[in-house]
């Protein structure tokens, strides 16, 4: 799996931006209140990069991640993924790209309780058209082995520990061989030991060639990444500037 992921990744030369976002804004309208969650974001992530996104609560990290993951659409701005403009795609097309290019890892794991470990990992593959069952099975087992959960295929999520659940969630994200893994505070619901383990897993995946964009507010984990992006109030800011701004707000 690692081999093939790398070969797919190398289709685009390393260093070429996988994600290119420019002047992106997102406004939420609720009950006559406008929330400017993102305003004028410029961001590019290269193939094979490991980016950590940090910033105070409510600054727009999750919003940005879900736009990158095509779960949401920007209010304005441009976004190209793998060289393809994706900000104005319809729901079905976004579903397709999400399924093929994106691997999600959530803070609360978001496994489906009625499905077994195996079925949870298989789920995104079932949304692909014309994937032979044998291939599917091979991919699922490959992914589960990669995260060390192959011995728990018949278990239900409720029968696993939090750390194990999150590893299954990682396997689910890997199974589809996505261009990028998006992780929104993947350690948020884990104790520190399990948190470390998941972080290590991500680092290994990165070393094997995966592109990762991870939201975290934990500076220790942010240091694992190659690059840190700081968000403040819906804008990307430099680290020094963030410190200054944080000092101002706390003052």
């Amino acid at each position: 799996m690692i081999e093939s992921a790398r070969s797919e990744a190398t289709k685009i030369e390393a260093g070429q931006p996988l994600i290119q976002i420019s002047d992106l804004t997102k406004v939420f309208y609720t009950d006559e209140i406008e929330t400017h969650a993102l305003s004028g974001i410029h961001l590019s992530i290269a193939k094979g990069e490991y980016v950590a996104m940090s910033g105070p609560s409510g600054c727009g990290k999750s919003t940005l991640l879900s736009i990158i993951g095509l779960l949401d659409t920007p209010t304005a701005g441009r976004y190209s993924l793998n060289g393809k403009t994706v900000e104005n795609l319809d729901f079905a097309e976004r579903s397709r790209i999400r399924n093929q290019e994106i691997g999600f890892i959530f803070q609360s794991f978001n496994l489906i309780g009625d499905l077994t470990v195996y079925e949870n990992v298989e789920l995104p593959l079932t949304y692909r058209q014309r994937m032979p069952a044998a291939d599917r099975k091979a991919r699922v087992m490959e992914a589960l082995e990669r995260v060390g959960m192959a011995h728990r295929v018949r278990h239900y999520p409720s029968q696993l520990s939090g750390g194990q659940q999150q590893r299954v969630a990682v396997a689910r994200a890997l199974g589809g061989k996505p261009s990028i893994l998006l992780a929104d505070e993947p350690t948020g619901n884990l104790d520190s030991r399990n948190g470390e383990a998941v972080m290590e897993l991500l680092q290994e995946l990165h070393r094997e060639g995966a592109t990762i964009c991870m939201v975290t507010h934990d500076p220790r984990f942010a240091k694992h990444a190659q690059r840190e992006v700081h968000l403040f109030d819906g804008k990307v800011v430099a680290e020094e500037e963030l410190k200054k701004l944080l000092a101002e707000t706390s003052a």
Binding site: S62, S66, G69, L71, D72, F91, A92, S95, R96, R98, N99, Q100, F104, F106, Q107, S108, F109, N110, L111, I112, G113, D114, L123, P124, Y127, R128, P157, S158, Q165, R172, G176
Partner: protein, 836 residues
């Protein structure tokens, strides 16, 4: 106790907080209770309730087996009737009955203060009231002496309701004279209130001694005719005697009576003699509930309706149950908080029960209000249009009502308990711990089962509706064999206005002339044996040159008709000629037979011409009536019954004249001719009593009442059931998709398209519907084959109806899934996955 009151107040507040839920639950329960009570009350009156008379357990009905060769007048119910000499012999010579009464029902014209009135009359033996142990409401009832000598005692007893209705309960009417069919009769008394007749379902307005039959049924001279069967016998067993003992005891007497009868049948083979006497048996049947041609008429329809109501009630329970279950599931949090605050299990459950109780009570209350309305609608639907009292009361039976309310209470208590069981051992930790991570669907299973039951029941009801509607349609489109449109019919019996037979003939001639002269009238005809009137009157024939096989049934219809009958009715002539004015009293006697008759006895219509026939059977009969024509077959008794072999005679050559039914073929809408005809007849003779006017289409509709009611109710209940199932299914899906919002969000994040989410919901629906249909289909096949006899022209497993019903049920399921599926597909993955 204090807690209970508090719970009660809280329950009221809870129900008022969700008025939609409360309304649906209460309406559903009320419908179930109301319809059930109404139907059971009718069923009880028609099938179960005993006559309001003394020693009712000792009453028996007599019936017999063996062939009947004489004149037979029956109500098309398969019951054997007796002749008066038979009754007299049985009555005088038996040793097992302490009393035995004879009865027959007819219509008479009663005239009082120059006001003619057509009423029902029961012709009874003199001991009738005595044997039944009834006391008069006024005056006196009949005694044996009233009924000894033919035509000697013109006395009449009024029914209680006729006395109220017509005479304002005036005791002054006693010993006064009224005209019955033109003959003066003295009113001697009034029957007790609440008593209608020993014949269940009959509601005579007057009672007349049997010996007055010639006056009451003009033209009938058969009181002493052993071979004319027309009356029913109800016996009263001697105390301590069982029906079996009575049957055995009366056996020899019965054989003797049959032998006497056989003596009057000239001819017949040895074999026939043996069968006529030795193989014939007299049966003594339970009579506590009265002899009832009506009962056998309505038994099956009522049972079917009851079955439908039962299914609907079951659905109502399932529906209310699943409603209560959702509510319960939606209140887990509330219950959890109660537990957390230290509430005891008992209190939490008590509170749920109080709510269930409240719902059940409200449903029961509305159901009670509904029941009499449903009853009266049903009664008028089935028996409306007749004269006099309706045979059944719309007042619901208290016991049945209480029983149904109890049932509804029990059901709602039980179902309100079901969610309580979910909290029996509250384990709150997992729900809190796993919040947002997993959505398990445990409590859904209850609801799925309840919905599956509802889908299944609605399939059963819809299959029934389909089959009954098509039965009705098939019957309606049966070719009657004559033109039923633009045809107005009414009956007249001139002897009710005091006409003697010799003047009757002239009256009919004048009526024909007058009617033909009226504007808008195309043709006029008359018969003494009305078409499609659900009664048959057959008699034996003898055919010259036809060697009847031993014991061959030679019973045929023998209507006497007017000259223009076939052209007016538009019954096509197949061979020979129709009647003409030359076929009069003095000339060669002629007959026209129908196709079935011709084919059966002669093989071919043409062959029948020129043969001679005679009414009556036996050696002495000389066939002297020549067959001059053959007409095409037409339905006679009803659209359902097969065609009977028929010989038509010109009424001008008939030895005795009967009451006639007139048919007027009109140019315009036949209804509009009624007033013109009534006025014209009034001018002809103001005393003439004209029987109810009906168009032939109305007559047919009337004929099909049971079928119509069943088809109507079955469709109504079928639609109701489908609606309930749809609501139930919608509820389950709406609930389950809301429960699964986050799951759907996850799936979408992983690449599920809207289409695949819709498919997911639809799959759940189709799976549920498929399983329910698979289970319900054999059940409905079984139920439908049990009511086969009520179907016409369609098999109980008609594939088209079944297929169509399956399609309809599936479509209903899909339709009710549409909204939840749409809602599920609109889930915003972002919102579904958001957590704070």
């Amino acid at each position: 106790m204090n807690g209970l009151l508090q719970d009660f107040r809280y329950a009221v507040r809870q129900l008022r907080k969700s008025p939609g839920f409360a309304a649906v639950a209460i309406i559903t329960l009320a419908l179930g209770i109301g319809a059930n009570t109404a139907i059971f009350s009718l069923l009880d009156q028609a099938l179960l309730r005993s006559l309001p008379v003394k020693d009712v357990d000792r009453l028996v009905i007599l019936n017999y087996s063996g062939s009947n060769t004489g004149r037979l007048q029956s109500r098309a119910d398969g019951h054997f009737y007796f002749s008066y000499p038979m009754y007299r012999d049985l009555h005088d010579r038996n040793s097992v009955f302490s009393g035995m009464i004879a009865t027959d029902f007819t219509q008479v014209g009663v005239q009082w203060h120059n006001q003619p009135d057509l009423v029902g009359a029961e012709l009874v033996s003199g001991n009738y009231f005595d044997v039944l142990g009834l006391q008069p409401a006024a005056g006196r009832l009949f005694v044996t002496a009233d009924d000894v000598v033919a035509d000697a005692n013109p006395v009449v007893v009024l029914s209680f309701s006729y006395w109220q209705r017509r005479f304002g309960s005036d005791p002054g009417i006693l010993n006064q004279s009224v005209l019955v069919n033109g003959h003066p009769f003295t009113v001697v008394g009034v029957a007790p209130p609440g008593f209608h007749s020993v014949v269940m379902g009959d509601t005579p307005d007057v009672f007349v001694p049997m010996m007055m039959k010639a006056e009451v049924i003009p033209g009938s001279m058969d009181l002493e005719d052993r071979r004319s069967s027309w009356l029913n016998i109800v016996g009263k067993l001697k105390p301590g005697l069982s029906r079996e003992q009575a049957e055995a005891g009366v056996g020899p007497l019965w054989s003797a009576i049959r032998s006497d009868e056989l003596k009057e049948i000239k001819g017949g083979s040895e074999n026939f003699r043996d069968r006529f006497v030795n193989k014939s048996q007299l049966f003594v049947l339970d009579g506590a509930r009265g002899f009832s041609p009506l009962r056998s008429d309505v038994q099956m329809p009522l049972l079917i309706v009851m079955g439908m109501v039962g299914l609907v009630a079951l659905m109502a329970c399932a529906n209310v149950g699943s409603l209560l279950l959702v509510r319960g599931a939606g209140r887990i949090r509330e219950m959890s908080v109660r537990y957390a605050l230290g509430a005891k299990q008992k209190r939490v459950i008590q509170q749920l029960l109080v709510e269930g109780l409240l719902l059940g009570l409200a449903g029961g209350l509305f159901g009670m209000l509904l029941a009499p309305r449903v009853s009266s609608v049903l009664i008028t639907m089935i028996w409306g249009g007749g004269t006099g009292d309706l045979p059944f009361s719309a007042k619901p039976d208290l016991r049945i009502m209480l029983f149904n309310c109890g049932l509804a209470l029990l059901a709602s208590l039980l179902f309100s308990l079901a969610p309580a069981l979910q909290f029996w051992r509250p384990d709150l930790a997992p729900a809190l711990k796993q919040q947002g991570m997993t959505a398990r669907s445990g409590p859904l299973r209850f609801r799925r089962i309840s919905v599956a039951v509802q889908i299944g029941l609605s399939l059963v009801l819809l299959v029934g509706a389909g089959l009954f509607v098509r039965t009705l349609h098939n019957l309606r489109s049966v070719n009657a064999g004559f033109a039923t449109d633009h045809l107005l019919t009414f009956g007249v019996d001139p002897r009710m206005a005091g006409y003697e037979p010799d003047r009757t003939f002239a009256l009919y001639q004048r009526m024909f002339e007058t009617l033909r002269g009226l504007p808008g009238v195309r043709a006029v005809a008359a018969t003494n044996d009305p078409e499609l009137a659900n009664d048959n009157e057959t008699g034996n024939v003898t055919i010259s040159g036809y060697a009847d096989k031993p014991d061959e049934n030679m019973q045929v219809e023998q209507p006497n008709v007017s000259v223009d009958y076939f052209s007016t009715m538009q019954m096509p002539l197949l061979a020979g000629r129709v009647f003409t004015d030359q076929d009069s009293a003095g000339s060669q006697k002629v007959a026209i037979v129908n196709e079935s008759f011709a084919r059966h006895y002669f093989g071919d219509p043409q062959q029948a011409l020129g043969h001679f026939v005679a009414n009556g059977g036996g050696k002495g009969v000389k066939p002297d009536i020549v067959i001059v024509g053959v007409v095409k077959d037409a339905k006679h008794v009803s659209l359902r019954e097969p065609v009977t072999r028929t010989v038509f005679f010109p009424y001008l050559q008939s030895p005795e004249l009967h009451a006639m039914t007139f048919y007027v073929r009109t140019w315009q809408q036949p209804e509009s001719a009624e007033s013109t005809i009534r006025r014209a007849m009034q001018t002809l003779d103001a005393n003439l009593v004209l029987d109810t006017f009906r168009t032939m289409d109305e007559q047919i509709d009337n004929n099909l009442t049971a079928e119509r009611v069943i088809a109507l109710l079955a469709s109504g209940f079928g639609v109701l059931a489908a609606l309930m199932a749809a609501v139930g299914l919608y509820g389950v899906l709406a609930y389950s998709t809301t429960q699964r919002t986050s799951e759907i969000g996850i799936r979408m994040a992983l690449g599920a398209t809207r289409g695949s989410v819709v498919r997911m919901v639809m799959f759940e629906v189709l799976w549920l519907a498929g399983i329910s249909i698979a289970i319900a289909l054999p059940v409905s096949l079984l139920l439908m084959s049990a009511v086969r006899s009520q179907l016409y022209g369609i098999s109980s497993s008609d594939p088209l109806t079944l297929g169509l019903t399956i399609v309809v049920v599936t479509l209903v399921a899909i339709a009710s899934a549409m909204l939840p599926a749409r809602r599920a597909s609109r889930v915003e993955p972002m919102k579904a996955l958001r957590y704070e």
